[in-house]
């Protein structure tokens, strides 16, 4: 029973943490953008503008709730909700820290240790399209629909390359469970060292999946007004924007888990299991996550946007063949080694 209670507590903690990190990602984004563009950024709400995300949230809450007349009401509401849910669901399979022994019980720092965890990740990511499509279509607006379709085709295209890059990773790890994958990377055996090409493909795909620059075509203001969320306002718009940051956080976590050893750090194997090890592991994990979030933001404010055909060409003509090549090379290597 205590097991179940702990699971509930842990899930709420992860939930809150995701929201919190996402919230402050917006702040970080703006601050970093300001830094990169040599300006101040938010600095009014609280010291260094640290309460700015809260203020934004309150503002969104109190804005006028607007549902276009010709839209499909239920789907219009469902779209952002669905998007939010899929964004939050992903973190369920990510191990954030080593196991914690407490009172003779072992508590897993993972919401669910699925033996097909990677597939779960993949499945949830592929569902992310629905939120965008439903929302864009339900708005009954040409620009929204175009944005939604762009987003959907972009997501589907890059899912393929992503899946193929994960296949080569699975070949190395010979397990689908994220926990196993993390455990295998102890010491310096990070997967990025064995799968550099796979990592490159994966991270590009992660940028595309989260609709971050330089792949933020679905919401490209110059072409499509506001993309699929043109018609959305108030907290529904907030959901869309917020879910993106959650996605960014989850992507960073997945990247860290799959390629950078997760909570593993050097000399961790020499430590006894205990609270210290768990906390230290969690700290390492979040450090890696923050690094990737920083990378996301850094790239956003550094690189220009792709053209749509360039994006499709990159996905279909560069990344997929490269991923296939990677699979072949990995397979050959495994065969050679055995």
């Amino acid at each position: 029973m205590s097991d179940l209670i702990f699971k509930l507590i842990f899930i709420s903690v992860i939930f809150g943490l995701s929201l919190f990190i996402a919230m402050y990602s917006t702040y970080a984004e703006r601050k970093l953008a300001a830094f990169l563009q040599d300006r101040l950024g938010p600095n009014r709400a609280g010291p260094f503008g640290i309460l700015q995300p809260l203020a934004d949230g309150i503002k969104l809450f109190f804005k006028e709730e607007f549902i276009p007349k010709a839209s499909d009401r239920w789907l219009f509401i469902m779209g952002p909700g669905f998007f939010m849910i899929t964004a939050l669901m992903t973190s369920a399979v990510i191990p954030f820290a080593p196991d914690l022994p407490w009172n003779g019980q072992i508590f897993s720092m993972q919401a669910a240790d699925l033996n097909v965890g990677i597939l779960y990740l993949f499945g949830v990511v592929s569902l992310g399209v629905y939120g965008i499509l439903i929302g864009g279509w339900a708005s009954n607006n040409k620009f929204s629909l175009l944005g939604a379709i762009r987003a959907a085709s972009q997501n589907i295209s890059y899912e393929l390359a992503m899946g193929l890059s994960i296949v080569s990773l699975i070949m190395v790890s010979s397990s689908l469970s994220l926990r196993d994958i993390v455990e295998q990377q102890n010491g310096w055996h990070w997967n990025v060292l064995y799968q550099p090409l796979g990592f490159l493909i994966f991270i590009i795909c992660a940028f595309a999946e989260t609709n971050r620059a330089p792949f933020d075509l679905p919401e490209c203001e110059t072409e499509l007004v506001g993309g699929y969320h043109t018609e959305f306002s108030s907290m529904k718009l907030g959901f869309y924007l917020f879910a993106e940051y959650i996605n960014m956080f989850v992507s960073s976590a997945v990247l860290a888990t799959l390629y950078f050893g997760g909570y593993q750090f050097p000399f961790i194997s020499s430590m006894d299991p205990g609270l210290t090890k768990t906390l230290l592991g969690a700290a390492v994990m979040f450090g890696k996550i923050f690094f990737f979030i920083f990378l996301f933001i850094w790239i956003r404010w550094t690189l220009p946007r792709f053209r749509y055909d360039q994006l499709m060409n990159l996905g279909w003509k560069v990344l997929i063949p490269l991923a296939v090549l990677n699979i072949i090379l990995t397979g050959a290597f495994i065969l050679f080694k055995s």
Binding site: N115, G123, L127, L133, W137
Partner: protein, 172 residues
Amino acid sequence: MQNLFYILSGLTIFAAIMVIISKHPIRSILFLVFTFFLISAHYVLLNAQFLALVNVVVYAGAIMVLFLFVVMFLNLNQDIERFKSWIPLSAAAISGACLFLVFFSAFRTSVLASHENTGGYQQGLVENLGEVLYRDYLFPMEICSILFLVAMIGVVLLGRKERVEPIKNLVP
């Protein structure tokens, strides 16, 4: 555990019925996605976790997105289901119901072999499946890849917009 099964079953049937009685194609699609989720849940209950996720990825993540795409592209907002006459409808319903009754009664009275489940409950795991797949079903697996290739070429040909210019006689 039993109740979970019955709740899931009831939901599944409800969602499936909603698929066929929804007026709007988009609603049908969404209910169908829901149905697939529920079926995936059944798979999880049956300890077929790999298939459950593959079901989500393939059906919900790929096939239904395609449906959604097509419906959105074709912009099928208008209701095309003009009610014609009772005859084909009732004929369809009656024949379907008859067939259902036949099957239902057949299954209800069928005597199934007792559970000689000797292989443990691990057959749904990826390792197990992969072993069987690549040991016993290698050839169908390869055929599947050819099927995909053919389907891909077919779709590309179907979806191509412009007609190929007839090859001009290059030799003067």
